[in-house]
Structure formats: C-alpha cells, structure tokens
Subunit: 373 residues, 2 copies
C-alpha cells in the first residue's frame, strides 16, 4: 500500500473511526484501525465488541487522495491518530515498506511504525439490513438527548441500559427507563415498516459525535434483529442491539390527573439545583408542598441542615405534599427545553409527568419517593 | 453574628480562601472557613497544614458590607461556597440563629446550615515576619512559571519538592531541581536583606490563583525561617517553608562550552512533541545528532517503531550525539518563551543549558541520558 492524502481530511476521518476503537482492548488488533486502499478509494475501519465504524473516502479536491499502490495495513489507533494529528504538512504519505512496517512522512518528519497484519482483523459485515427509514440528523440528536439520560447506567435487566425504538403505523416511539423514571418521545416517520429494537445507550452517544455531526444531513437507518446501521455520506456506523424484550411501559403512564402545576422551567431547575448540596446518603431528595396559595420547595439532611424556597408558579387542584429525586426532575426539565413546563400529578405516591405545555410528543415521567420528614 | 453583603464580592473572596481549605481533611474544622465580623469588618480564614489564607473585607461601595451584629462562625467550606455561588440575589444575609445554626438568605431562598464552633478553629498567627521586600505580581508569576515545573514531584530529600529563593546583595536567585534538570532565575530586587528559604511547589501554584490574580499589583513578601507571607490588598497568603538546606547548585552549571545550537523555539518544541508517542518504559528519549551540515532528531522504541526529523537550525562546534528526556527539553523551552533559543553543550554525557540568546537571567539545565541505540 502506498498513498498520499490531505492531512486534515484524514485526521477528521480517523477521529470519527476512533469512536469505535477500544484503546485498552486486550486484543491488539481491536486497538487498531485498518486502512485499505483499492480501486474504489480508501476505507478506514474500527471496531470494538459493540460498535463498528467504516469510513469510505473517494478521491476529491479536498482530500487530494492519491493511491499509488493498492493494499492494506492495520495500525494501532492511538499511534495512527497521534502521527496524523501532529505531522506538520498539508499532504502526508503512507507507505507499507516491509511486511507490516509502515512509513509515514510529511514535511521534514518521518516515522517508521510497526503495523499489524491486516488479515488478523475481524471480518465485519457492513452489508445493509433490509428494514430501512430516514431521519434528519437534527431529529436523531434530539431523540438521543431527550431519552438516553433516563436509561439505566447498569441493570440486572441489560435491556434497560439501552433505548427502545419502536416503529408502528408511521409513528416512531422512543422509550428509556431505569425503573424510577421514564422518558418517551414520539416522532412521525414516513415509513410503513414495523420493528421493536433496543440500542445500547453508549452506541447512541458515540453516534452523536460521528454520523450526526452535520445536523442538516439525512441519515439512513437500516436494521435487522441483531444490528442497526446509521449511514451518512461516506460513513457507516453499526451497533449491535440489546437482547431481551423491552418492558411494556404505556400502562405506567397515567392518563388522568387531578392536580397541575405550570412553572418557568429554568426557575424550577435553578431552585432545585441551589439545594442539591444538601444530601442524605449521597441523594438529594426535594419535597414540594403545593396549595393554590403557595408552593414551597424544601430539602433537609440531619447532618448539613435544610433549605426552603417559595416558588413562583401556578398550581390547581387539591393540596399536595410530594417528594422526588432532585437529579431526576432536573434532567427531565433539561430534556424538555420549552420556556414553561407543565407538571401533572395524580397523587402523593403516584408517578407524575412533566411536559412542554404545548406539546405532548415528549413525556417525562418521575416516580416520587417516600420520605419521613 | 448577623451581616449582609454583596453576593459577588463574598463569592470571589471565598473562592480565594478555598485554595487553603482541604475538603477531605479528617478534621472537620479544617474543612471549614471561619467568618468573623467585628468593628474592623469581615475576616474570612481558611487553612490546611501548609497554607493559610486570611481575607479582610472592609465595608465599601462594591461589597456593600453591613454588620448588624458582631460575632463569628465556622462553616464547611464546600457548603458555604455552594450556597453563596448559587443564591440568586445581589445581597445575601448571614445570621447565626441558634448556637452554630446559621441562616443564609437571598431572594426567595433560605438555608439553615449546621455550622461549627468557631473557637474550635486553630489559632493561626498571621503577624508579619520581619524580613520584607516587594515584587510586582507579574514578576512573581514569571518566577513561578519558570521554575516550579523543574522541582521534584516527590523526593527522598523533601527540600527538592520546593523552589529555593535566595536573596543576597540585591539579587534574588530562584532555583528548582529534581536532580535531572535544573531551572535558575535571577532577578534584581531593591532590598539589602539576606535570606535562603525553600517554598513548597504546591504553595507557589496556589499563590498564583489567589494573591497574584492582578499582574499589576505590588506584592509584599515577608518571611522568617519557618514561614513566608505574601500580602496584597486585603489578602494574606501564608505558607510554611521546607526544612533542610537546599543543595549548592552553582557548581553544577557549566561555564564554558564547546558547541552551540541556535533554533526557533517552537520548531524544536513541535519536532520533539511530534515523536513523544514513541515511548520505552513510558519515557520518550530523543537523540540529537549534530554536525555543522545537518541536525537530526530521532526517537525509537522496539515495540512501536522510530521517528526521524531533520531540524532547521545552526550548529557550531565538533560533531555531537546526545540523548535527553523529551519532556525535560520541552518544559525548559516553554519556560524560556523567546522566539529563538540557544543550547550550549560541553560533551555527550555532560549537562547542557538552554537560554534566551539575548538574556542569561533564566538558565535551564538538562542532564543527558545514556542510550544504547
């Protein structure tokens, strides 16, 4: 293999592929990026057990790719990105000179790096699965930002560590829950397909920094029961899916309410955030006492002390005394994003839901906690 | 105690005092900040075993300090800074309401915090020691930036973990060394005093973010054999000194040289930085082969591979083949700051020195390492 290519273009492609590379993998070849040059152009591949990324570069004016000799090499990802990032020239040259020994050069600097045999690299199937639909990158980013946070960081049921995507009748329903709170987003999609899959949260986070970097781009999403692929210009991002059936969550979301609060979203976030240093067993639990005359937010711990804040908000319904995790309500409010929020309650030990008053397409549900204040 | 004060002014004073507070101290009162209000104004005190900071605030138009009742309280530093930072009002009120229970209020929020008995706080002597001189804050910042990095991170001789300050005949000589490299800065000072003290590196770093925040300010430095005080408007920063006599380092610095190299400083930093990913036993050792015709920088490791770069520089003297720690030479070059640097050598296993070609007031010395390339 012998190529020359624009340093900046190769650098940004490698940064994307590195999101699938595990630099601490016990298998040296999984710490590597495979570079393949053939008649089609340059292909960069990186993979860990869960995510695989393939970057395809055809020659164009900006990447200035020139394939002098076709071939393939596998280079440690950290070494490769370090060399390409720091080489001080517009164009760099990569040439396999002896077995896996590879020469990188640009301007006055030259590196000879011990590569690995590219045939040791796993044979990853990047073929496109049959079920397919498209979404704007900006919409996919919103979906991720509004759901991933509510998934379980780890759980005895691994399926809860992911985000569930269900398509039926042209409606995509995206759900995450850690059993104590739930986030549910619905989006109309122009597709007659039907599926129900759960994507690992980590894959969705990596997706944001790779395929979704241009919010205006259209993303093609293809899937079967084992994997999902996110495809954009030149890049294929593939993730395995989580096994196990996702719990049926619709019955958990109350449909009727007897109390309602309207409040400025940032006022509520700031009021809760102000008192979260008051913690008991490393948890900040806030208590909300509401009547139609006054709404008071309190927090207390035996050790540190207590806080009390009168909120400026509208409340309708019977008096209510309810306690919740400060973190859960702050994260739910952040996900919503509208200026005001509506919180609807059914009872002191019943889940409550937070929404944009003008839009029910995103529902944030939080379970109260019992306190003995 | 009962006071009101500007939130922003109290906040920035507390941030400064926190640099002396160890939030993980096993002694609860050392995790605290003592607040004392008396006829003179407000005094904030924080301390760990090594550093103590006292902040004095008299009433003025910008802090709007109002002492309604004199007194004193001791509050956990993290809790105190968190409350003051997040209270959402221009003026905040602090009132001791019952024993050590202290009320903080501002706008709609109110906190009642369990304080500690201020008489449990250690009695710190902030009286000014007799030996005294002044320096501009900007000069003190340069001294710190140009020396601290070369002190030992830890050492069997604790005195090497500090920076030595010696004043004699109106010349302040500041020296740091970890036995493998040395940094020496000389500054003229308008003082007839004589002293030789060693200040812990950590104290100098904290000093930068507290007393030295205004580069134009004049700093008074007062010391005796046990402590040094750095005094600026309203703030006293006190540090203990390191015991033990600092090694005599002047004889280590060669006075005569037989080879000299002149090079663009950033070119050398970048050339070394480019190859430091090539490491053996987590150390990047660079080899410099110089003749009057060509200067070549190389690095190699059995595992990763090798690098080679021709430097554009002027070299005079006999051929030289010398190896050194990449990190040491990069840090020395960064400390110097001039556009070009002069490197003077006496032999392949002898220390070499790096300076600004126009200014010998800062000398960076590096010991070569033996390699078997």
């Amino acid at each position: 293999m012998n190529i020359t290519i624009s340093k900046n273009e190769l650098n940004s492609s490698l940064q994307a592929v590195m999101h699938a590379v595990s630099s601490t993998s016990p298998q040296p070849y999984l710490r590597g990026i495979r570079i393949t040059a053939d008649g089609e152009g340059l292909v960069l591949t990186g993979s860990n057990a869960d995510i695989s990324i393939q970057m395809n570069m055809q020659r164009n004016d900006s990447n200035d790719l020139n394939i002098i000799e076709e071939g393939s090499i596998l280079i440690d990802g950290k070494v490769l990105t370090e060399i390409v990032r720091k080489l001080d020239s517009e164009t760099i040259s990569i040439e396999v000179i002896d077995g896996a020994l590879t020469k990188f050069s640009g301007h006055s600097a030259l590196f000879r790096i011990n590569g690995m045999n590219p045939s040791d690299y796993p044979d990853i199937d990047f073929s496109k699965p049959p079920v397919s639909f498209t979404l704007k990158a900006a919409d996919m980013i919103s979906i991720i930002d509004q759901t991933v946070f509510a998934a379980a960081p780890k759980d005895t049921r691994p399926v809860l560590t992911g985000v569930n995507f269900k398509l039926e009748g042209g409606v995509l329903t995206v759900t995450s829950t850690d059993s104590f709170r739930l986030s549910k987003k619905t989006v109309s999609v122009d597709s007659a397909e039907t599926f129900n899959i759960t994507i690992p949260s980590r894959s969705l986070n990596e997706l944001k920094s790779t395929v979704l970097t241009d919010p205006e781009a259209m993303i093609e999403i293809s899937l079967n029961s084992r994997k999902a692929e996110f495809i954009s210009a030149g890049i294929i991002f593939q993730t395995k899916l989580l096994d196990g059936s996702y719990p049926e969550t619709d019955r958990l979301i109350p449909k009727e309410f007897n109390r309602e609060m309207m409040i400025d979203r940032m006022d509520l976030i700031r009021a809760i955030d102000r008192n979260t240093f008051i913690r008991t067993e490393n948890q900040a639990i806030n208590r909300l006492q509401c009547s139609e005359n006054e709404i008071v937010l309190t927090n207390r711990s035996q050790e540190i002390g207590d806080s009390q804040e009168v909120l400026s908000a509208d409340f309708t319904g019977e008096e209510l005394d309810i306690s919740f995790s400060a973190q859960y309500v702050i994260e739910a409010c952040r996900a919503i994003g509208s200026e005001n929020i509506k919180i609807r309650f059914t009872g002191e030990m019943k889940p409550f839901i937070i929404t944009d008053p003008a839009d029910d397409s995103l529902i944030e549900l939080v379970l109260p906690v019992r306190t003995y204040n």
